[in-house]
Symmetry: C2
Subunit: 446 residues, 2 copies
């Protein structure tokens, strides 16, 4: 059995080895099965999915992205379709239905039991990417006058899922959130203790309409396993659990990383995303940037006379624009990340720009000395001096641009991550060339 | 009180307003206090820190980075120093001591009680960045023959911290891990149930010597609130808890993001890191890249004759290298992220390169049409054709390079994130120019 790991599910599916598939499924946990399904075409993925036991089917299904879930649902008979949806967590189901084409969404809502349909509809009422879309509304709710012994009985009777009972909401009359208790508090305290004496009234809470990513980062900062969600009148409406918070943070980081490279975020497993969708996600910024880079052509044209006179100046153009782009991208990346994790705020702009300008100047001086060496060796004297001076100026300038733009974007209400490395490079290219030719003209006296 | 949020702690500290500081501290949760302290110079941060209540002092201290903790410790009297260290979680303390200069480390270990010193020393025995350094060894351990009622009594007697009792390790004779139970399982099942009947024997586990980041990603994939850690003989040695997993994932993402911009990761709060340290972290790759970019100067020199004949060719150099760099960075970023979250593996290299080459070709064709327009308008006919053909070729080539390099790095045992946007851009610059001038010579017949 030692080479079990090397049997790939997709090979078994392609050879239609049903016994092999069953064996493979029995030996792997749900999240690994989901991972393998995500790598396959959906018409193949449906085969092992249908062979799963009833209980594991749901676990695997909930690990898939909404897009993959849709594809699997399309391949199921009506009864299996209904059963699967009915068992899903309300928050996952709401996200699936919210993102599905109208045809699937209608089929899905129609198949639900009235109680589940109502809950899903309520979740769908919250704005996209808000806490309301990700919270779990089905939780145990405890009244503050309850005794610990009775509270444990309530939990026992509900038989709730583990991740929603680690942290329990405590409410007062009118379902207003008083605070939370930990399950461990209930276990540790005597059965006669009244909840209002152990409830943590300072426990953070969020509104259902707030952005989900911010709530997830709050959970991370404050080390919370679950965060109570309230409506505008402070009434408890659900819990955001750590597993959803982890997913939100990973998705937000993936999005930021994609945006940093000038691509729109693509949801879904890399292996499952087609060439056209990848190209589309990356094309918007590339188009904008190539049009912007016409500026560099204009600048070069403006100095065509200088270039004709001293062709050697052209030799250093890629090195100079490249270096400026690199320094600017580093600054931009550092500030975008610092903004994302809350280490820098809009009002820090002057401090940040001042700090980065000194970093850029230091780096510029260091790189200029290398450029001077390379230049002296390859073309000699004066041109090398012009290149070295330009490198210093361009690096300082690039660091200022790269660090200010994310902060200005945030101030303008735009996601700072759109200030991508390619955007900074392109902007620094044009201005850098202007600096270079101006300095070169002065140094060479032309 | 509406503008409370706008009173900054640092202003209160700078004006030495002790009452104001006490008020501010009372009104903010520990993680926000830690965040403010992290923004200050350490000689200032010690002032509000000393004004904290004894219990909150520890909470705030544990939220700080090891570097900030060291600075705070240095400012404390010996008794306060000892007390603080003694109360810290063993895993946090081990990390602090492991990273501290010898002087602090010795002072710290000497001050601990024998029991705490032994535990810290054990944690320090694990390799850096391994699970052993991050796990909590102080947990409740349950024997599989125990009854649920008795297990709850054990937990009650231990009065353990909340995050270590959500998931409880169950062991057999010889302390070998049998599996885990959830605290909620104990609450839901009758007091006479024996643990071996409810223990989840399939619950994932990790070795203490494995990399901590991988364990954290496993917790994320499998939605675990705690992961049991075992030694080489499968004996239980500790728990990795979700709050440490979240921190590990955020740190890993921050590192990847920094590396993607060609900078070494800098630990610590952005505001607390000095200009010199920032410059040093970014300088290594910049130096390497500017030396590498000498290649572009060489290529340009090789075609100096062509350039002298048709100076207009130089005009498009920044646009071409910029576009190639952008496409290559996008591919590299996408693949580095897919590797980090486990969506792509080394053996997928041919599939990935083939997919990305098609993405690159599509993007290239699209961008070439824009370049053709811009070129025809600015310099006309033949040169525009040469530019457009080059854009297509360079984009395809950049996508192949950008997507293969992270996979090749991983295969060579190097962190794929070193394949940064600047590295890809610089490599694509030189080869792209070669492609451009070769095509131009063919099209223009020179």
């Amino acid at each position: 059995m030692a080479d079990d790991e090397r049997v790939e599910l997709v090979d078994l599916v392609e050879t239609n080895d049903l016994t092999g598939i069953r064996l493979w499924l029995a030996e792997h946990p749900p999240y690994e099965i989901a991972d393998e399904l995500a790598r396959m075409d959906s018409h193949l993925a449906i085969i092992p999915f249908r062979l799963l036991d009833k209980d594991r089917e749901l676990e695997v299904f909930e690990e898939l992205d909404p897009g993959q879930q849709q594809a699997i649902l399309m391949g199921l008979r009506d009864s299996a379709f209904r059963e699967l949806l009915e068992q899903m967590d309300p928050d996952d189901r709401a996200r699936l239905i919210g993102e599905a084409p109208a045809k699937i969404a209608t089929r899905a809502l129609a198949g639900l039991s009235p109680a589940e349909r109502k809950m899903t509809a309520a979740l769908l009422g919250y704005p996209e990417e808000s806490v309301g879309r990700y919270m779990t509304p089905e939780t145990v709710i405890l009244h503050r006058d309850l005794q610990v012994g009775r509270a444990l009985e309530v939990i026992r009777a509900k038989g709730a899922e583990a991740e929603t009972v680690y942290t329990l909401p405590v409410v007062d009359d009118g379902r207003r959130l008083a605070g939370t208790v930990q399950l461990s508090d209930l276990v540790v305290n005597g059965p006669d203790t009244v909840l209002k004496d152990v409830v943590d009234v300072f426990a953070p809470r969020v509104r259902a309409t707030e952005p989900a990513e911010g709530a997830a980062r709050l959970m991370q900062e404050a080390n919370l396993v679950a965060l109570p969600v309230v409506d505008s009148e402070d009434r408890f409406v659900g819990l955001l659990t750590f597993d959803d918070a982890l997913e939100l943070i990973e998705a937000a980081d993936s999005e930021d990383i994609a945006r940093q490279s000038g691509a729109s975020p693509v949801t879904g497993h890399y292996a499952a995303v087609g060439v056209l969708r990848l190209a589309r996600a990356r094309s918007v910024w590339l188009l904008l940037l190539i049009v912007t880079s016409t500026l560099t052509v204009n600048v070069m044209q403006g100095f065509e006379g200088v270039l004709e006179e001293v062709t050697a100046l052209a030799l250093f153009v890629p090195m100079l624009t490249g270096t400026g782009g690199n320094v600017g991208s580093q600054s931009a990346t550092a500030i975008v990340r610092a903004l994302a994790v809350g280490e820098v705020r809009i009002r820090d702009l002057p401090r940040v720009a001042w700090k980065e300008s000194r970093v850029g100047l230091l780096l510029g001086l260091m790189l200029a000395s290398i450029a001077l060496l390379i230049g002296s060796f390859l073309v000699g004297g004066r041109i090398a001096v012009a290149v070295a001076l330009s490198v210093t100026a361009v690096c300082t300038w690039a660091a200022i641009i790269g660090s200010s733009m994310p902060l200005l974007a945030r101030r303008a209400g735009v996601d700072p991550a759109v200030v991508s490395a390619p955007l900074v490079s392109t902007l620094v290219d044009a201005t850098g060339l202007l600096i270079y030719f101006t300095i070169a003209r002065a140094v060479l006296g032309i």
